[in-house]
């Protein structure tokens, strides 16, 4: 049974390299480095105090948590580009997050006795807040497949549309930098003291970032002329191997990619561009590169690959949605951004990486891959609107 494509009508974002979609794209193609010393909370006791922190954010309303504020900023950007022209009950919200409102939980446990703070610690709170702000009264769903959340959310959103459970879906991902996550990754020794170097021979770990990214989705037949691109296929799969590390063979990732390609009814020969997860941890990048070589076969020699976490840091729940949006913007603009931080070739990661400067190509079909804690893997197949 052929799976109906889903139109991606518009996008909105707030990131460490740009406060809206246009600035995000400009930052990518100019190689802007969004990583800096974290200023919003104390990091002096941590091994690494760097991250992709958003320094300026329009403060919405006293009492909104930072996660909601990031989402509201991305939603304002989205709504400046497209309207939610469907009955409220037919507009759904599907958001991916790794951390939800955990910073509110930190505050609740640090002495703030309010009931409001305790309720805001629930991870589904920011999605509810966004739905309320948008006036969306359809399904409100929070997905948490760790750092693959932003991809899984787009897949669940597409399922809502194909099942006729909604006419429009605002979908995407978000996460914030906070003490909780910085302390956790610091304890794991996963953060690099160097810069983030995806697929580089010298890579030594990731740095975290924060952001929010949203897309407006509709059934392709309902979208009319307005379209940034299309979601052709998606899949998610479990490694069933380790709580924190990827399966050394990458079996879950491979399964997800093959299933997404099958749903999209495209083969390796149809892929024009790959946006890799590319955390810059030694194991992730080696596993991911090997899987991509297996799936793409001989086509791997000619398919450009990039990873944008060198510019942004790892924005966790936002990452996969930002990367999907980047794929569509690359189609529209005819340029693939380069992999900031990748300078020295790693023979264990043999792919055609876009390095040093953006490459002038106009991909039609893109593959975006994601991995996360808990053996979460996800893949998206996207088609850009190159008109």
């Amino acid at each position: 049974m052929k799976t109906e494509p889903v139109a991606i009508i518009a996008a909105g974002a707030v990131t460490p390299i740009g406060a809206d979609l246009d600035a995000f794209w400009t930052g990518l193609v100019t190689g802007t480095d969004g990583v800096s010393r974290i200023e919003r909370f104390p990091v002096g006791d941590l091994r690494v105090g760097l991250g992709g922190e958003i320094k300026k954010l329009k403060r919405e309303r006293r009492g909104d948590c930072r996660a909601s504020q990031l989402l509201f900023a991305a939603a304002d950007d989205l709504r400046a580009r497209a309207s939610l022209d469907a009955p409220p009950a037919r507009v759904a919200v599907v958001l991916g997050t790794a951390l939800g409102g955990v910073e509110e939980g930190e505050k609740a446990l640090a002495g703030d006795p309010s009931a409001r703070r305790a309720a805001a610690a629930l991870y589904d709170g920011p999605a509810r807040a966004l739905a309320l702000r948008l006036g969306a009264r359809g399904p409100v769903i929070t997905v948490s497949t760790a750092c693959a959340s932003g991809a899984t959310a787009l897949g669940v959103a597409a399922d809502l549309l194909r099942s006729d459970a909604a006419d429009l879906v605002v979908a995407g991902g978000y996460d914030i930098l906070c003490r909780f996550v910085m302390r956790g990754f610091d304890a794991l020794r996963s953060l690099t003291r160097d810069r983030v170097r995806p697929f580089d021979r010298r890579r030594s770990g990731l740095l975290l970032g924060e952001g929010a990214a949203l897309v407006l989705l509709a059934r392709d037949r309902d979208a009319g002329e307005r379209r940034l691109g299309r979601l052709l296929g998606h899949a998610s799969a479990s490694d069933g191997a380790h709580v924190a590390a990827p399966d050394p063979e990458g079996r879950g990732l491979e399964w997800a990619i093959r299933a997404a390609l099958a749903e999209a009814e495209v083969g390796a020969a149809d892929i024009d561009f790959v946006s890799a997860h590319g955390t810059a941890t030694p194991l992730n990048d080696r596993v991911e590169a090997a899987v991509l070589r297996r799936v793409l076969g001989a086509c791997a020699e000619r398919i450009p690959v990039n990873a944008i976490k060198g510019a942004l840091g790892h924005t966790m729940g936002a990452a996969a949605t930002l990367e999907a949006i980047m794929c569509l913007l690359a189609s529209r603009e005819g340029v693939v951004p380069h992999t900031v931080g990748l300078e020295e070739h790693d023979p264990e990661c043999e792919l055609d990486f876009v390095v040093t400067a953006p490459r002038a190509v106009r991909p039609r079909v893109s593959l975006s891959t994601s991995l996360g804690f808990g053996g979460c893997n996800a893949a998206l197949v996207l088609e850009g609107d190159a008109r």
Binding site: L109, A118, G374, G375
Partner: protein, 265 residues
Amino acid sequence: MTGTEVAAVGVVTGWGEGAAALPSDAVRAAAGRRVIAAARPPLVGERFRRATRECLLGVAAVEALLREANLEREEIRGCETALVYVTAAGYGAANHGFIVAGAATGATLHFPYTAPSAVPAEVAIEFGLTGPYVILLGGAAATIDGLWQATLQVGRGRCRRALVLAVETFSECEELWARGRWLLRPPLVESAACALLIPGPSRATYAPASTESPLEALARARAGETLACAPLIALALARAGGGAAPFRLTGQWRGRRAGLAWEAH
């Protein structure tokens, strides 16, 4: 799209294992206790050294399911089994431990166990599940969303069967839950439940619901407040009562009620 059916449901709660362990009136049985705790399942071995209580409850729920369905572990192993995990608060205990215990002692829970994905990860590792994988956060309405996702995974041929697992614990964060008392009605009953969906004769229809279904009311009355586990406990009660399609399941969380109706094709 292929139809589906619920083949079995495994349930572990603070009241005991299975639907038969549920009291007829949870409020009366609680006798004023605010939380009915579930014991840490006696799973041992090096692999579970770091696993949290909620992870072990997830494993215990799948084991209860296998006993209920009379299945061997090998029969669900591999990429033909989807795993859909749902929780409203299952990550709370680990977060609490990481924030409070870590701050007090300097020692910290292994950080990856604070992720909501830790519970399904331990389940996937234990039972060798490598198929489609979705994790949703929220209460009973999210479990309805999860059951709907499972019907899609099976119905569209992405897998041959789907497990819908929910785990909720409250003890460690009892004080926080007490602050948010408008969200839920005690007793809060720690639970883990898992439903097995397979291809079958019934078509599932997913839609918002304006009213509580009889099964939702029954699960609340018998089990108490079990958040994301409630719709799965309702399914277990329906099966225990000989229920088969057509039936309607609803779940409510923070003002949203979702519904899923199984009807004969």
